[in-house]
Amino acid sequence: MSLASDGAELSRPLGPAFARAEPSIASVEDYLALLKPRVMSLVVFTALVGMLVAPGHVHPVIGFTALLCIAIGAGASGALNMWYDADIDAVMTRTKSRPIPAGRVQPGEALAFGATLAVFSVATLGLLVNLLAGALLAFTIFFYVFVYTMWLKRSTPQNIVIGGAAGAFPPMIGWAAVTGDVTLAPVLMFLIIFLWTPPHFWALSLLKSDDYARAGVPMLPVVAGHDETRRQILIYSLILAPVGLAPSLFGFAGVLYGAVALGCGAMMLMLAWRVYRDRKGQPAVSAARKLFAFSLLYVFLLFAALLADYEIGGLGWLR
C-alpha cells in the first residue's frame, strides 16, 4: 500500500538549517547518541545469548570481538537511520532532541560516522571471526538502512513488520559467530524477535500516532486507525505466544525456559487483549503503555531464560 500522498510530504534534502558548513560542535556524547545505545543493549544481549547457547566453543577474545562488531554494526545502522530520517525526527516530539535535528551534529558527520563504522564492523567480523557472521551483519545493516529506513518506513504500514527482521538477526549472527552455520535454533530465536516487533512498536505508535501523522510516517494507527491496530496487535500476540514456546516444544530448551515463555506469553496476550478491549480515554492509553513496557521485558526475560536453561543443562543435547 503506498501512502506517500496520505500524510505530510517529507521533503529532502534537509534544508538550510542542516546545511551550514560551520565547524563541528558535536560532542562525544552526541556521537554515542547516534549509536542508539538503548537499542544496542537489546542487540548485544540477544547476540550474546545466541553465542552462549550455540554448540561448540569460541575463544573469549573471538567472542568479545564478535559481540563488539555486532554492537558497532547495530550502532552504525542507528547512525545511518538518524542521518536519513533527520527530517522526520525534527517534527516528532519523541525524536526532535536527537543530535541531528537539534543541530549538534551535521548530517554529513552522521553519514560518515555510520558508514565508517558499518564497513569496519562488517570487515572486522568477517576477517577476525568468520565470513558467515560478517555476511549476516552486512545483510542486517543493509536491510535496516536501505530496506526499512529508506524504503518501507515511508511507504507502507507494514514497515515495522518487515523491517523487524533487522532487529531479529543479532542472535543468529551470534550463533553463526560460534558455529559458522545457521540451524533451526537460531531461526526460532529470529522468529521470536520478528513476531514480537509488531505488537511492541504498534503499542508505542498508538501512543504517538499524532507524532507519526505529523511526520507523514504511515504507521498502522495513522493509516488504518487505532481499532485495526489493536486487532493486529492481538493477532500478532496470539502468534507470538506459541512461537515463544517453540524452543521448548522442539527440544532446544528445557522446562525453565518453557515456564518463562508460557508465563510471559500469557502476560503478553492478556495485555494485548486489554489494548484490544479498552479503546477510549485513559484506560486505552494505560493499556497501550503497559503493553509497550512489558513487551520490552518479554524479550529480555525469554532470552535470559534461554541462557539460564542452557547453563543448568537444558540445552546440553546441542553439544
Binding site: 565547524p23 563541528s24 560542535i25 560532542s27 562525544v28 556521537y31 573471538i62 570481538t65 572486522t124 577476525l128
Partner: protein, 55 residues
C-alpha cells in the same frame, strides 16, 4: 552557534576546541582498541605459528 571569523580563517570558540579535543581523544582510543583487538585475535588464532608462516 555563531563562529567568529577573521579575514583568512575560522577561529574556533573555546567550546568548539574543547569538543574537538574530546572527539580526537575518542578516535585515538578507538584506534588503540582496534590495534589491540587485531593483535589479540592474531595471537589467539595463530599463536606461535605466527612466526613460522611462509613469507
Amino acid at each position: 552557534m555563531n563562529t567568529p571569523y577573521d579575514e583568512n580563517r575560522i577561529v574556533l570558540t573555546e567550546e568548539q576546541v574543547r569538543r574537538r579535543r574530546g572527539r580526537s581523544i575518542a578516535i585515538a582510543l578507538s584506534l588503540a582498541l582496534f590495534v589491540v583487538l587485531v593483535y589479540a585475535v592474531t595471537v589467539v588464532k595463530l599463536g606461535p605459528a605466527v612466526l613460522v608462516r611462509p613469507l
